[in-house]
């Protein structure tokens, strides 16, 4: 009897938090998994079961691989600079600015500005004829690409905006991590005559590695899920040069109304994200020092 009561209690306390998880996560996940095996068109009440045909179509289409390549390129080119700029800014903040709040808020402000609003401003900055960026490039007689309207440069433009937005956010985490490194460790270095580079390599980088892992995972997921800036600035163009997997999903679902294939793609994105996160955690044992 007592034991039964015990189980009841456990069920009660575990069960209640499980309700929202079930309602908002597990159920939609299973519904979408199920949807991905149909050819529903988002509007009509009828649909057929097509089993794995959607997956087959996607995995054999050139669009998918182009988008995959774009996503990979976008992820690598945003995550790595975000991490590097974040660390460099945090180090500067510590050394030069002595923790200046003004500098901190200045760098952090892009992160609290909505991506949509920022993308609109940047669309103007990237404007080929009157945009700020090309004006400045013009003063220095540098080439002035047409940025968002050229398939060679559009992706770079999106990458610049994304780094701009995220670097300040990464800096904030690194600033905290740096402030936790005891100064004595650098003094040990000073007694032996370590160079700037040796300090970074032997002290700073290993000691902020847990923060680095956290930032890599979060900004990688953020990169795979990038949507706002693409929607506002290029809508996946020109010529599909900025069409990432998520944007491809959006176009399949809400432009082509091909709900089955879209959900199949979203499943692939989720699996891909999961595998990447797992790999990162798995390899992190080698380079993250707690």
């Amino acid at each position: 009897m007592d034991r039964l009561k015990g189980y009841g209690k456990i069920l009660f306390f575990v069960g209640i938090p499980l309700v929202p998880l079930l309602a908002f996560w597990f159920i939609p996940m299973f519904v979408s998994l199920w949807l991905s095996t149909t050819d529903w068109d988002y509007i009509s009440p009828e649909f057929n079961h097509v089993m794995l045909e959607n997956y087959q179509t996607i995995l054999t289409s050139g669009n998918f691989y182009a988008a995959l390549k774009n996503t990979a390129f976008f992820s690598v080119m945003t995550v790595i600079p975000t991490i590097i700029f974040g660390l460099v800014f945090a180090a500067l903040l510590k050394k030069v600015m002595k923790g200046s709040t003004l500098f901190k808020s200045l760098l952090f402000s892009p992160w609290i500005t909505p991506m949509v609003a920022m993308s609109i401003v940047w669309t103007w900055i990237f404007q080929p004829d009157v945009g700020l960026l090309n004006q400045i490039l013009g003063w220095f007689h540098l080439p002035q690409p047409s940025w968002l309207t050229d398939s060679n440069t559009a992706m770079w433009a999106i990458i610049i905006v994304t780094i701009w937005k995220n670097a300040g956010w990464a800096m904030l985490f690194y600033a905290d991590a740096l402030s936790k490194i005891p100064n004595e460790l650098y003094e040990v270095g000073k007694m032996e005559g370590t160079s700037w580079w040796q300090n970074s390599k032997y002290i700073t980088i290993p000691l902020v590695s847990p923060t680095t892992l956290f930032l890599v995972i979060i900004s990688l997921i953020d990169a795979i899920q990038a949507y706002d800036q693409i929607q506002v600035m290029t809508q996946g163009g020109p010529a599909g040069s900025t069409r990432t997997l998520l944007y491809l999903y959006y176009q399949m679902a809400f432009e082509q109304f091909n709900m089955g294939q879209a959900t199949a793609l979203s499943t692939i994105i989720v699996i891909l994200t999961g595998v990447l996160a797992f790999l990162l955690f798995y390899t992190s044992k080698k380079w993250v020092h707690y």
Partner: protein, 362 residues
Amino acid sequence: MKKISLKNITKQYDTNQEKILENFNLDIYDKEFIVLVGPSGCGKSTTLRMIAGLESITSGELSINEQVMNDVPSKDRGIAMVFQNYALFPHLTVFDNIAFGLKIRKEDKKVIKERVEETAAKLGLTNYLKRKPKDLSGGQRQRVALGRAIVRNTNIFLMDEPLSNLDAKLRIQMREEIIQLHNQLGTTTVYVTHDQTEAMTMASRIVVLKDGAIQQVGTPHEVYMHPANMFVASFIGSPTINFLTVKVTSHALKIDEQKIVEMPLDNSTPNEIIIGVRPEDIELVSEPDAIKLTIHRVEMMGADKYVYGEIMGQKLTVRVHNELDIQSKQHLHIKLNPRKVHLFEKETGKAIETFVKDTVVV
């Protein structure tokens, strides 16, 4: 040979701030174990860090091995330092922690391995070389920190309160080990602590500091037997020395009209002075006309008892043997030995030299 010499050293952290150290002069000789001791904030770490080159010298001259070192970078001063919080690299193994300096100095891999293993053996760390600092006990971490200093084969060690994070028992054990290491290696050592027991037990010479000024430099015996002023007298020794304000008459020192101790002093002595008497130097007597101590409180310390009380309105502590039954008593009769009484000027707190006092030769 003068190993380290500080001449007129002054230190100011900020130009508009007060001076932390002023006109600091100290010569340290080869193979000495110098202990800088003093209350918190008196400038012990600052002094040590200036010798190490971690802190700039505002004015004055620092020489090591007779060479001016003011502007020589830390790494070229031939110094190894042990930090208070061990300052071990958490991500490196014991081996790599000890090897750090040698690696930075680009020593040969084989040499590094040899030297690290030799050092580890000296410190009993051989079985822990592959561990990370977080898997070591406090004492072992402290040994790694020592190892990192020893492995460099320098002839000067600087240590900033290296034992302050250890528990009492371990502290005594590590104290022993450090002394042994010093006897073995003969490395000139400057050791900072605020613990007078550590200073007394470890030092070949003690430097007592207060507010950035040297109060006295001397062997443990000298600072205990002949404190230069009231500060030194009260800082060294436990329980703390007693101070009594007394009147000087031709043949004796008195409180009110009661004679405290017989002591013929010359005429230059001021009328009122302060005497210092250590609790362990007070004799118990049975004559009823001796000084009467009113007992307030007794502390059992093991081998001894500390009796806290007062004579004629002035506080006095006496250390007595633990077998003495005083629990039932309200009074004790005491006697002061003129040889064991320290005299100080009332205004300045400086010691007054007397002909009565003389050193017991040990």
